[in-house]
């Protein structure tokens, strides 16, 4: 916003516009700042979530992990969805170093020693929820150590990325 149009004219006139412009800039800054603090969510990996535990309990969190296919349970009567997610690194460089997102998700599910967490979500079963999908969940960590998700975003990297060799064998 540094390139405000130049307004010519008397200095009093100019002041009027400068003050008006500053008021608007201040309003936008205030809106951004207050909305950020009101709705900021910590983005954590499963490992970070488990290690912080009580520290972040009750706060708005965003957690990303790999869906463990065998753990998916769905009760259609109550629309209660339960599943486990396994830890995947949050850092991109690390993901790349371990062979790309699809590989990392695959390894995370295959490795039983990885940190895992139980997730409970209430709502329709999402179409993309399946083994080795990446789940990005918004919600809170409960007293019982279960992550209660309000929102569930799923991505299947294999759809888009280099899954050719597996494809060819399959």
């Amino acid at each position: 916003m540094e390139d405000l149009p130049v307004v010519q004219g008397s200095s009093r006139n100019r002041m009027k516009f400068v003050v008006g412009g500053l008021l608007i800039v201040a309003a936008v800054v205030y809106l951004i700042a207050s909305s950020t603090t009101a709705s900021a969510q910590y983005f954590l990996t499963v490992e970070e979530l488990l290690s912080k535990g009580a520290e972040v309990r009750g706060r708005d969190l965003r957690v990303s992990g790999a869906v463990v296919g065998d753990s998916i349970e769905y009760d259609a009567q109550t629309l209660t969805l339960k599943f486990m997610v396994a830890h995947v690194p949050g850092d991109n460089a690390e993901i790349e170093a371990q062979g790309g997102l699809a590989q990392v998700l695959h390894d995370a599910v295959a490795d039983p020693t990885r940190p895992r967490i139980q997730v409970i979500y209430n709502g329709p079963m999402p179409d993309l929820l399946k083994n080795e999908a990446q789940a990005i969940m918004t919600g809170r960590l409960g007293e019982d150590g279960v992550f209660y998700a309000d929102e569930l975003l799923l991505k299947c990297p294999t759809k888009y990325e280099d899954a050719v060799p597996q494809q060819a064998e399959g």
């Binding site: 390139d3 149009p5 909305s35 991109n92 179409d127 399946k130 918004t138 759809k159 060799p165």
Partner: protein, 684 residues
Amino acid sequence: MIANLGFGALFITFLVALYGIAAALWGEFKHKPEWVDSARNAMLLTFPLLSVSALSIIYLLVTNHYEVEYVSSVTSRVMPLYLKVTALWGGQAGSLVFWSWLMSSFASAVTLRKWDRDREFLPWVIVVALVTLAFFVGLSLFVENPFNRLWQLAGGQVVEKMFPPRGARLFTPTDGRGLNPLLRHPGMIIHPPMLYLGFVSFVIPYAFAMAALITGRTDDRWIRLTRRWTLWAWLFLSLGLILGARWAYDVLGWGGYWGWDPVEIAAFMPWLTGTAFLHSVMIQEKRGMLKQWNMVLIILTYDLVIFGTFLTRSGVLSSVHAFAQSAIGPLFFAFIGLTFIASMSLLMHRWNDLKAQAAMTSLLSREALFLLNNLLFLGILVVCFWGVIFPLLSELVTGQKVTVGPPFYERATGPLFAALLFLMAVAPLSAWGHSTVKTLGRALWKPAALSVLVVVLALVAGYRNVFALLAFFLIALVVTVTLYEYQRGVRARMKRHKESLGSALVELVRRNRRRYGGYLIHLSVAMLALGIVGIEMFQSETQGTLQIGESLQLGNYSMSYDSLAVFDTPDGRNVARAVVSVYRNGEYVGELHPRRDFFYDSGQPMTIPGVRSTLEDDFYVLLVDWEEISTQSATFKVYHNPLVQWVWLGGIAFIIGTLVAAWPDRERKETVALSARPHAMAAD
């Protein structure tokens, strides 16, 4: 064979583009117009070349050439022909070629116009267009090649390469992986091309702006030349956004249409700066002000368009953390950075030539209100941009990734949108040069009184939400002011020219299409706002498992579960389709068929809602689950979305309004004769 042809054409395009840039520069600096003409021919040649390349991809898609990696990643045998053709933009590699093809067709159309009076712009417009084109074609050639084939090495391993590695055989999978089923929707088929058309056509005004900066011809000629391009660009971009929203509403099955996802925001940001630009160029044309500002806006729009192209690709993951996952990311950022710095330096160089010719004196004058409108649009842009980069920033500063979701955007942009609505009501009544509270108040009190009446009616009807009441007031104010403006114009014509109501209205709009088309767009925005308020503030939902014959209540609606059928379709889907009866206030109003399609090729289900849509509200039913075989019971999620149809009606009105404003003038000669100022339009 065809893959080689397509790749060859792409490669030649790249060379031709580089040649064109060099020829245009050489011709310009050495004052050799024949070289500029040669550059122009190079520009024109890129179109047939890219057509060959794009048609090659389409041929490969349609004829199931699964040895080509792109083909096998976006199509499968069961897909119908039209989906195979449109799979051209179903993935990143194909859509980049599609983007380049659109770009070259638009740039060629511009090069074909008569340049007599604007000859000095020509070489620079060609350079800017070809640099942009060369960047995208280069990406296709060297990073995201749609013609890469699969090769089986001697060791049995399959690799993806353009040309065969030593000793490798061509590897052809028997079937492709198929287009993501979520994308197999008419809205999704026309949504990306619309968005791309919008993106691409914004390159043209940018190219002219740069030409104006370079040549030093910094009057408003470049704006007049590209005014219509800008409007069309804006129309396509808006259409792309609306279609995307409609697709989300019809397909994604969460009862909404806009989720403040980074991908959506990336398409929305150039729209914001483009809208600000459309408004503020009027000030430059009418008053000779805001010239530097307009340059800033068009530069921002161009770079946001490039950014949007990168982010909105269906293949790129919808998270900010995915930037670096494709080799394309750093290249895009480098290109955006370079063009931004280059354009801004040019602007600084010409800064003093772009001084305003008049001073703004009154805070309530129309030009000041336009400026305020610009600041609000930019404010929304800053909010969006902040939301997208905040996770990266917070990680950089604190080491902890913190994200913001839809509540952030809603909270931060809500007041700004409300202020824009208010401006939309006030600005048409203000005068150029000078307005006071008194003159504005005199014009505004009648519409304001009517709008208060609307609020009172809403109160009586039981609405108590303060924000909703305020929104209703603003919407009513926009509608009444706009209609009042129409009525004023029509009445004046009827009196002066003794015309009937109908012909006065037609003549009024025809003679000042930009203004009255613009007002129509304002009305459509009020309609959109009504729909958004309805679904955002009054949406309700419920869910339940029903036995056949049982029913579920939501507000004054109820629905009963009648039956469910599961069957296979010839195009490779397994469909579960429920039949439910819908009652409103106890009266039967119709049947809905929510269903769940399971796609065998990709192993993915897709939930398609059953929707009963009226002007008052939508009743939106999702089939969540059912008891296999017996189908005695099924689970539904039901949404009540008040007023949401106004979003789509507003979208249609919006298109009509923009067409009215952008349609080429037939009686331009008359206008030229009437106005003292020469009046010319681009490319028509």
